[in-house]
Each structure stands twice: as structure tokens, then as C-alpha cells.
């Protein structure tokens, strides 16, 4: 009877310690403003099954480590019944351990126990001996927890063998480890095993989902720690500190101060210290908020559903609303406000281009698509070429399109840099134009316009079918392989590949015009940014190595003489890097390239003297 009382006391003490710490954190979540996003339950549930139950993200991004983690996770879940039954037995509530069913359950647990031991030892060696940069300095707490987990398994296995007092000792060891473990986890990164299932479920179904500010409620963005929203507070306590965000961040990777993991941990520390009135920007290292390209790698890579983009952009809003955005952005905002484009050019520049390219004004009764030019398509000479190429491809295939008489920027750069008022002004004016023109289908060559019109405009109730030119043209273009073979590398644009998931269409298209694509490091769904996103196209001084230079080197390393990309900003950045490197590697937009290849193919088909396809020209 004494043992029951002792156990009850221990459960009360350690359970109490657990509860106090959890309560302190959940209280902060409860006090935080905002609400957890609702809707898309089916999609969220499916993701929960994929990413939590099957650990798909943990494994896919880092197969070996991920599998080791999955073994430990599955083992943990399997063991809940065993440890729970032991506790109930000890407290004399009910003894299930003597039943035949329990014995069968125990036998079934043996492979799990062995798997957990193997997994945890692997992770322990990695943490203590290999010490990858992502994990940061060695934490003894993690080592202790790994040893606890291994010990739990060992005590379970010994349960088969031992009898008498050694069995009792073994039993107490098992129970004590569980209780101590319980008291440690809320204040450690292992709290993710409680919170991550929730954060993965609650995470938006859209990457970089930054909700609109409500001006009626006088919302201005996140100024102080008290302004962090519920999910952001929950994220701070969930972070497992694996460093995947950090290792995939283009700013961190080019020696800048920004480290997305550090932002989340600084939130956690400041929240627990109760610094609710502290300026959020002051919680972080100076300037880091303006080093983010909003490429989305951090959020997309995070295995526990942390959303970095609403945090960074929310904090930028808090600064921009007070006039504390960098000067270069201030100039860009004035350009947007006065001229409706990021460069502040007058609309006659666009008008001349539209006339010389022979683009008709959109008429819903005659045109399949509204061709949205965007700032670059309207004003940037190089990208205008890409629009001309696209028009030729479309015309040759009988696809009809028109452009708006006047266009203004979608507001992408305003949204991503935290000038929410300007974004909403531009968005509502554009939506009014779309609706007045009866626009149903939009085609654009700019992945940023794609995201802004296609996803951000939904918040205003405007839902439209919008497609990137790479996707439409990949459906339209047949066999263009008659052109002499060529080798290229493809730079996946963040807003096309990571945000919109369009990684295969540009590759299919390139293959269809006879180009062999050599992928660089960081390709497909996890590209390395060009450095232009999130308003950084306008950045005046870039700390560390230039992101564009790093990406250009990665692309150059493929050995392909041509870099193809399908985003005007990537094109500007990579051409800049190419010019500073004085490199022979050419940078060309996808549509310009495809149009050129198609023309070369038809020219060759028309002249009988050419060598057969597959052979190089002299």
C-alpha cells in the first residue's frame, strides 16, 4: 500500500510540474490575439495523416535521419499502452498486465523496442559525434532524453526476463523515467511531441499565407511581442530546433544575420520571459527582418508546421506602418502609389510596348485569356521580349488573348514587405478592373503575379483561374525536337516551383523543344532563391555574399552553357550576377528560349540540307 501512495505522490509531483509548465505556455497562446485558421478540414486531416502518422516530411527531406526519427516516433506511440498499463497497475486502478492479450501486445512491441533503440542510438551519435551545423551547440538535455528513451526500451525488454525484486526495481525504473521525462519535456524541444500534431494540423494549407490586416479594427501589423498571433505563439513552443529552415535559408546560406530558426527561438525565449511589451523587431538581431526574400524554404521545410512567413511579414508590417521600412522600399512605395508600378515609370512606356507588340485590349467576348503583363512585362525591356515570344507561341496555336488598357502592380512587393495599405489599395483596384472587364482566365509570365492574384486576392472574395505561361505553353507545344540539341540548366523560381508546385511543366516543355536539362543543386520543389523576392530586388546593400551570385555559381556548376528561368525577377538577378562574374553562361527566359527553339526547329524542317536531328551542327 505504501508503494501505491509513493507512486501517487510521484505522479502528482511530476504530473504537476508538467501541468504547470504546459499551462504557462498555453496561457500565452490563449491570451494571444487572432484565431486559429479554420476550413479545409479534409486537406488538413490528410496532411496530418501524411506528415504526422507517416512522417512523410520528416523522411522525404532527410531520408536517413527522418527514418530514424520515424522509428522512434512510431515506437513511442506503440508504447503508450504498455507504459500506461504499468502506471495503472502501480496505482492499483486496474491490472491489465496479466492478461493474455497484454502478453501478445508485449511480444508485438519487441520489434518496436529494437527499432527505437537503433533509431535513438543513431540520432544520439549524430548529435554528439557528427554534430551537424543545423543542430547548433550540443544540448545535454537532448542527450539525457535520448538516453531516457533508450532506457525505457531496455526496461521493457528486461520485463520479459526478470522476476522477484529485480523485476520490481526494473518496474520502478521504467515508471520513474517516464515521470521525469514528463517534467522535462515542456521546457525542451521535445515539447514538439505534444504540440507538433496540433501545429501541423493548424498550419495553413497555402504556403506563405499572410492574412489581410483589418483596417476597421485598426490593425497595423505586429509591433510588440503581445501582437504575436495564437499560431505564432504556439509555433514558438513547438519548434524542434532541427535547423532545416536555417540550412535551407538563402540569407543564412550567404552569411547574413537572418536565421529563421533563431527568430522562432527568440520568440520563445522572450515569451517565457514575459517581455510582452518589447518591440518585436528589438527581440531579433538588427536588420534581419529585411533580409528575407520570402522564398518560403523555411516554412516549406519545417517538419512541425511552423509558419515563418506570416511572422516575418507581420513584423515587417509593424515596422512599415510606423515608417520604419528601409529607404529603398519607401521609394518603391511612392512609385507604386504614384505610378502603379515598382519602378515609377509612366504608363506611356507600357502603352508603346503594347502597341508595338500588337496586343489587343482584352474583350471577354473574343479572347480566351487576359494576358497580365505585370511590372516587368510592361516596363522591363528584356522581359518584354519574353512577352513577345509568348504572344508568338499563342498566336501560332490560335489561342486568343488581350491585355488591359491600363495595368497596375498586383501589390506583391507591397504585401511581402509589409505595406498592407498599399497592397490592399492596389488589389481592390485591380479586382475592380478584372470584374469590369469580365475576366475569367488570366495568363501571366510572372510567378509573383501568379501568387498574388491567384492566392492573395482570394481574401477579397476574388477567385479566378490563373495560369503561368510555362504551364499553358507546356500543354500547347508539341514536338519541337527538330532543332539541334541543346543543354540547359533550369533555375526553378521560388514562386513557381515552391509556391505553385510547377516543377515538371517547364522541364517537359524544355524536353519537348529538344533541350537536355541538367538540374543544379537545390532544384524542383526546394530551389535556392535568386535573391529578389520579398522586396529585396530593391535592396541597396546586401550583407555577406550576394544570394544571386551564389545561385549563379550553383547553376554554372552544372556546366550547361544556358540558364533558363521563368520569372522576371530571377532573370534580372541572375543576369546581374552573370554580368558581375563576366561569365559566358547565358541567362534566358523560358518563353524566349522556347520560341527561339521552335523557330529553329521549323527553319530546319523547311530546309532539306540540314543534318538529321540528333547530330550537332558543324
Amino acid at each position: 500500500m505504501i508503494s501505491v501512495a509513493v507512486l501517487a505522490l510521484l505522479v502528482a509531483v511530476f504530473g504537476g510540474l508538467f501541468a504547470i509548465q504546459v499551462w504557462a505556455r498555453l496561457r500565452l497562446v490563449r491570451l494571444a490575439p487572432g484565431a486559429f485558421a479554420a476550413g479545409h478540414e479534409a486537406e488538413r486531416s490528410a496532411r496530418f495523416v501524411r506528415e504526422v502518422v507517416f512522417q512523410s516530411k520528416v523522411i522525404a527531406e532527410k531520408p536517413v535521419v527522418g527514418l530514424a526519427h520515424a522509428l522512434v516516433f512510431w515506437g513511442f506511440v506503440a508504447f503508450a499502452g504498455y507504459s500506461g498499463a504499468q502506471l495503472l497497475k502501480g496505482l492499483h486502478v486496474v491490472d491489465l498486465t496479466g492478461t493474455r492479450a497484454f502478453h501478445l501486445y508485449m511480444v508485438a512491441l519487441v520489434p518496436f523496442a529494437l527499432a527505437v533503440i537503433a533509431g535513438i542510438l543513431f540520432l544520439l551519435v549524430r548529435r554528439v559525434a557528427v554534430r551537424p551545423e543545423a543542430l547548433g551547440p550540443l544540448s545535454w538535455e537532448s542527450v539525457a532524453i535520448a538516453l531516457f528513451i533508450a532506457a525505457l526500451m531496455v526496461t521493457f525488454l528486461l520485463d520479459f526476463r526478470l522476476a522477484g525484486w529485480p523485476a520490481a526495481v526494473n518496474w520502478w525504473a521504467h515508471i520513474l523515467i517516464i515521470l521525469v521525462f514528463l517534467a522535462i519535456i515542456p521546457n525542451s524541444k521535445h515539447f514538439h511531441l505534444v504540440l507538433a500534431p496540433a501545429t501541423v494540423f493548424l498550419k495553413s494549407t497555402v504556403l506563405g499565407d499572410v492574412r489581410n490586416l483589418d483596417f476597421e479594427k485598426e490593425e497595423v501589423g505586429i509591433e510588440t511581442l503581445a501582437g504575436l498571433e495564437k499560431k505564432q505563439v504556439l509555433d514558438a513552443f513547438t519548434c524542434v530546433e532541427c535547423g532545416r529552415c536555417q540550412m535551407n535559408c538563402p540569407a543564412y546560406g550567404t552569411d547574413k544575420a537572418l536565421n529563421p530558426k533563431r527568430l522562432i527561438l527568440q520568440n520563445e525565449e522572450a515569451l517565457l520571459a514575459g517581455m510582452m511589451e518589447a518591440k518585436l523587431a528589438g527581440v531579433y538581431d538588427p536588420g534581419v527582418l529585411w533580409q528575407c526574400t520570402t522564398c518560403g524554404a523555411c516554412e516549406n521545410q519545417c517538419p512541425v508546421g511552423v509558419e515563418h512567413l506570416p511572422l516575418i511579414i507581420g513584423a515587417r508590417r509593424g515596422l512599415a506602418s510606423n515608417g520604419e521600412a528601409p529607404d529603398a522600399l519607401g521609394a518603391m512605395y511612392n512609385h507604386l502609389e504614384r505610378r502603379g508600378n515598382i519602378w515609377g515609370l509612366t504608363s506611356d512606356v507600357r502603352q508603346k510596348f503594347v502597341e508595338s507588340a500588337g496586343f489587343e485590349t482584352f474583350d471577354a467576348s473574343r479572347h480566351d485569356y487576359l494576358l497580365w503583363l505585370g511590372c516587368a512585362g510592361s516596363y522591363e525591356a528584356d522581359f518584354q521580349k519574353s512577352l513577345r515570344a509568348l504572344a508568338e507561341i499563342l498566336r501560332a496555336r490560335g489561342v486568343t488573348f488581350g491585355v488591359l488598357a491600363k495595368e497596375r502592380c498586383t501589390g506583391d512587393a507591397a504585401k511581402r514587405t509589409g505595406n498592407e495599405y498599399l497592397f490592399q489599395e492596389l488589389a481592390t483596384a485591380n479586382i475592380a478592373d478584372f470584374e469590369a472587364a469580365g475576366v475569367k482566365k488570366i495568363l501571366t509570365s510572372c510567378p509573383h503575379c501568379l501568387k498574388t492574384i491567384g492566392e492573395d486576392y482570394r481574401a477579397f472574395g476574388f477567385i479566378v483561374e490563373i495560369e503561368h505561361s510555362a504551364v499553358l505553353v507546356s500543354r500547347l507545344v508539341g514536338d519541337g525536337r527538330a532543332a539541334p540539341p541543346d543543354v540547359v540548366t533550369l533555375h526553378d523560381a521560388c514562386y513557381l516551383a515552391r509556391y505553385a508546385g510547377r516543377t515538371e511543366e517547364p522541364r517537359d516543355l524544355l524536353a519537348r523543344v529538344g533541350a537536355v536539362v541538367k538540374d543544379p543543386v537545390r532544384s524542383h520543389h526546394n530551389p535556392f532563391c535568386c535573391g529578389a523576392g520579398g522586396g529585396l530586388l530593391f535592396e541597396e546593400h546586401e550583407e555577406g555574399t550576394r544570394i544571386s551570385q551564389r545561385r549563379f555559381e550553383q547553376l554554372q556548376a552544372t556546366g550547361a552553357p544556358t540558364i533558363v528561368t521563368a520569372c522576371p525577377f530571377c532573370s534580372i538577378m541572375l543576369k546581374g550576377a552573370q554580368a558581375s562574374a563576366n561569365a559566358a553562361t547565358e541567362v534566358v527566359d523560358l518563353m524566349t528560349y522556347v520560341d527561339g527553339r521552335l523557330k529553329a526547329a521549323s527553319a530546319r524542317a523547311a530546309s532539306p540540307g540540314w543534318p538529321a536531328a540528333g547530330q550537332r551542327q558543324p
Partner: protein
Amino acid sequence: MKIAVCLKQVPSRDWQPRVNEARTWVRDAEATFEMNEPDAYALEEGLRLKERHGGEVVVCSAGPARVSQVVREALARGADRAIHVESDALAAADGAAVAGALADAMGGEAFDLVLTGLQSDDQGLAQVGVALAERLGMPHATIIMEVKVEDGALRVKRELEGGWFQWVAMPLPAVLTIQSGINQLRYATLKGIMAAKKKEIRKVEAAACASRQRIVNLYAPQKTKQTTMIGGSAAEAAAELVKRLRDEARAID
């Protein structure tokens, strides 16, 4: 320091001007409008001087009801309050009439410093600032590139022709006309826009507009094309071509 900044609302540069039937003004009913660019720099300079020396910035504008667009914009950027001399006739009035209307409305305020843009993007008269100085009985300096307030007086840098500058010392109160590009314009912040809604705009009735100038013909420059055949031998023709390119077309030095 009590600073006044005079602002004009002008047709937007994005708007293709069309002349009215009487050829006396543009069809401004079809136009979109914006803040006159040099005035935007004058406003920014006023806000910076206030931040440095304290006081208030009052924006003053003369024109029809639509002018409130640029007045609100100025308030959102940080001006404290506004005076709007409301009159449809002032939209196309001459410099002296606008200056008179502004002076009547501003006279009672006892401003220490009055800033205007150098000239307007529409008529480009560059008259309102100097005429206003006369009406307010203040000294003035034009084409200002830098403003320093020292010991209750001004030191200002004026832009001259050919890359020359001039520093002028002058007393306060004074009127300065500000050159574009003198500073970096701030943007309208969300908080500024919210605060602007609560700021005062004092509407002043304009006395009968007394424009003494009248536009009799407004027109866009005619574009002409002319083809000349140059005869003679190749050498003579080339020499003649070079001469004409240099002397007439001024395409080469």
C-alpha cells in the same frame, strides 16, 4: 517653427492630356490627379525641418473640391493640419490669383516659414511662390537645394545654371521654392493614413478669382517630318550630311 507648405494638385503624368474645345485648358474632367512633384519635395522638407526644430506643418492648397485628395495625402505623410481654399476657378488661374487666394487664407496664421515647390508640373509658371512672398510681405529665395535653420535665420543653397550653386543667408519669416530631388520622399504609412482621418482641414471660401492672364490658345507641339535629298558626289554629299547633322540636327558635335 510654424511651417506652411503650399501644395498643388496637377493632372497625373500618366494621363494623356487632351485640349478642350475652346483650346483654353485641358479636359480635366477626364484626368486623374496627383500631387505636384516639386511640392511633394517641399512637403518632405517641411516635415524634416519640423522633426529637427519642432513646431507644426500646415499644408495649404487652392483649388476645387478634388484637391482634398492631395491634402489628405499630405496629412497622411505627417502634416498636422490643412487649409483648403476651395474654388473651381482656381484650378486654371494665373499665379498671381492663386498666390492672392492663398495669402488671404494664410495671412492670419503668422507662419515662420512658407515652402512651395519650384513650379507646377502643369503650367510651370514658377510664380506662386514668389508672388505669395510679396503678398505675405516676406523675403524669398527660389530653386532651393538645401535648407538650414541657424540662430533663428536661414542659410539656403540655391541652384544656378551650369552646375553652379549659391548659399544665401536670409531672415525668417521667409518663403522658399523647393527644387525636386532635394531630399528623399517618405511614404504614407498605415498609421499616418489612419491618423490623417482625424486631422483638421479648414475650408476657406475664395474671394472672386481675379486672374488677369487668360489662356488664348493651348496646343501640343506639332511633330513634323521633312525629307531632304542631298545631291552631288558621294564625298560632297557626305560632307554636306555631316555639316547638316552638326549644324541643323545637332546630332553630332
